[in-house]
Symmetry: C2
DNA sequence: ATGAAAGCGCTAACAC
DNA sequence: GTGTTAGCGCTTTCAT
């Protein structure tokens, strides 16, 4: 293995000079820097991560806690994961992937063994049970999702409350008065998943505000369940003309089942989706949608946590404003 | 931070004794072990990962290279990822998540900086371009997928060739003579993705062997594309009575579109799915399917690579035999 | 069955 | 602008 001593010898400088060339923490003459960088390249030197972590107490690794759930939309989770990894790499950090099934002990282990500098947490609940552990860790943490009381933890997420309101207002503005929300699985609501509850409240609030008739329908993640769910919508609200689908897995089924029942979109029923933008584009008619900005959320989470590591950062709750992209799945009520 | 010296002092032994209690690399008296373990628990000691890596040149971290593709089925990728993480944790290892977009340089970086002990690679191509780098790394590597020539690298995957044959034989045994394969996206075939090609060959081979009429249809990942793809199947093979769907994203669409066109499953058309087992269960009638054993593949990949790290392991190619689970979506031809 | 001590490769004072 | 040096916390000889 190539060490910093090898590089130093090769470039005719001391090891500390090599270290400083790499870190930029003190000024180096142009000539020295050139020689050192040449040696680094020629020898194919990469600093030993463990040695660096030991000496500097910085690992340049972020831990990301991923849910193992199958009731939330897996592709959306995956987008968060990839955007976190991509953003981390852009800032010269790597990502250690943890699952939730180790429990709080896993978080303690990661923090105490100094295997990562900070922790990012997904699948946040309204009454988030991991908050006490995270606060006790003395390492920065950022939640992807917003609990009811984040205390002094930083959070970032789409403003799902506002997103729901945006969907309802769009439908109301088009003249719809009887609207439905096809939401995530009942199990997602039951465990108090933050984004689901916030969306639901936003929906109910806007429905009331605009004086609409509105129903909400949790929908388990299977084709059969989605079909049954739509049946229930049409039974309980036979005159429904606006449906908000906040459930990626159910989206395709809802649309094809509406079609099968002879309800044309958007002539008879307007549909607003809450999903990744490219998913909304995958239909014959691109859907009217509030896109979930996974890339931006992941990037911001990484940047927030790095800023905290750098020292200059107060905890903050960052709610991204929803954007409604009009597509061909909504139209004025006939 | 709690160090090994703190534990040693607390237990009244030397640091090396604590180390040996932890590693089990030499025998310790019952009494000493008890005292040391008590101190470890009481102080909440966790070995410093960097120090350990520096001293032992073992990190207990596995790197997993994940594709960023959107044309392969994301939930399936995610299942591999979670099964690798879970299996790794069961063997006291963590997982560092890499994406492909750093290229070979990323693999070199990870290996040279000793941030991980071994590398697992997903999304393998038939003519896998990363093989030379991986071989040059002097670290164990395991491919999840099987290239045409793995050289001395270990691989593990479902035997997709046999899986396709299994599907065709099942349909042929039921009397079907006109069969179709709805496969992954054209882009997946174009870049020579290993599993797609192996499945396609298996399908073609079995169709020929059984003297059937058979067509193959790559299907891009959108609802609209899936609908168009089914149209093409029914146009080119109007008498088709058996369809193999090797494309999770298209599965729901294919079934609902068949229904919409008045072709009953399984009375008019038999459908065999190749997908995670619980996905096949999510339909009104559980589908006949060859399940993709993601959990097993991930677990085996981890175990193979750990065995290589331990020293006792020859490279091996492990193809898991497909299992066909009969469900309600296939029936004898009328 | 246990201890003492020599590094592992790097960073960051401290010197000049 | 650069070199010297003292650790960082652990594992693993070598001793006993």
């Amino acid at each position: 293995m190539v060490t910093i001593a090898d590089v130093a010898r090769d470039a005719g400088v001391s090891a500390s000079t090599v270290s400083y060339v790499l870190s930029g923490k003190r000024s180096i003459s142009a000539e020295t820097r050139r020689r050192v960088e040449a040696s680094i390249r020629r020898l194919g030197y990469h600093p030993h991560a463990g040695a660096r972590a030991l000496a500097s107490s910085r690992t340049n690794v972020l831990a990301l806690v991923m849910p193992l759930r199958t009731d939330i939309d897996v592709p959306v989770v995956m987008r968060f994961v990839t955007s976190v990894v991509t953003a981390a790499r852009e800032h010269d950090h790597d990502v250690l992937l943890l699952t939730n099934d180790e429990g709080p002990q896993g978080l303690r282990r990661v923090a105490a063994s100094a295997i990562a500098d900070a922790i990012l947490v997904m699948d946040v609940e309204a009454d988030e049970p991991r908050i006490p552990v995270l606060r006790s860790l003395l390492r920065p943490a950022v939640l992807i999702g917003v609990p009811d009381d984040p205390e002094d933890l930083s959070c970032v997420d789409l403003d799902f409350h506002a997103a729901a309101a945006r969907c309802v207002h769009h439908l109301a503005d088009l003249g719809h008065t009887d609207v439905a929300l096809v939401g995530p699985s009942p199990t997602v609501y039951e465990r108090g998943t933050s984004f689901a509850g916030r969306f639901l409240h936003g929906f109910d609030g806007a429905v009331r505000e605009r004086g609409l008739r509105g129903g909400t329908y949790p929908c388990p993640p299977s084709h059969e369940a989605a079909r049954a769910c739509l049946d229930e919508v049409l039974t309980r609200q036979p005159d429904v003309t606006g449906i908000v689908v906040h459930n990626e897995a159910a989206l395709g089924t809802v649309l094809s089942e509406l079609d099968r029942r002879g309800r044309k979109v958007p002539e008879d029923v307007s549909v607003v989706a809450v999903c990744p933008e490219d998913m909304a584009d995958g239909f014959a008619v691109p859907l009217t949608a509030v896109p979930i900005p996974s890339d931006e959320v992941g990037r911001i989470a990484v940047e927030m946590v790095l800023r905290q590591l750098q020292g200059d950062a107060a905890p903050e709750v960052r709610l991204l404003s929803p954007r409604l992209r009009e597509g061909g799945s909504t139209a004025p009520r006939r």
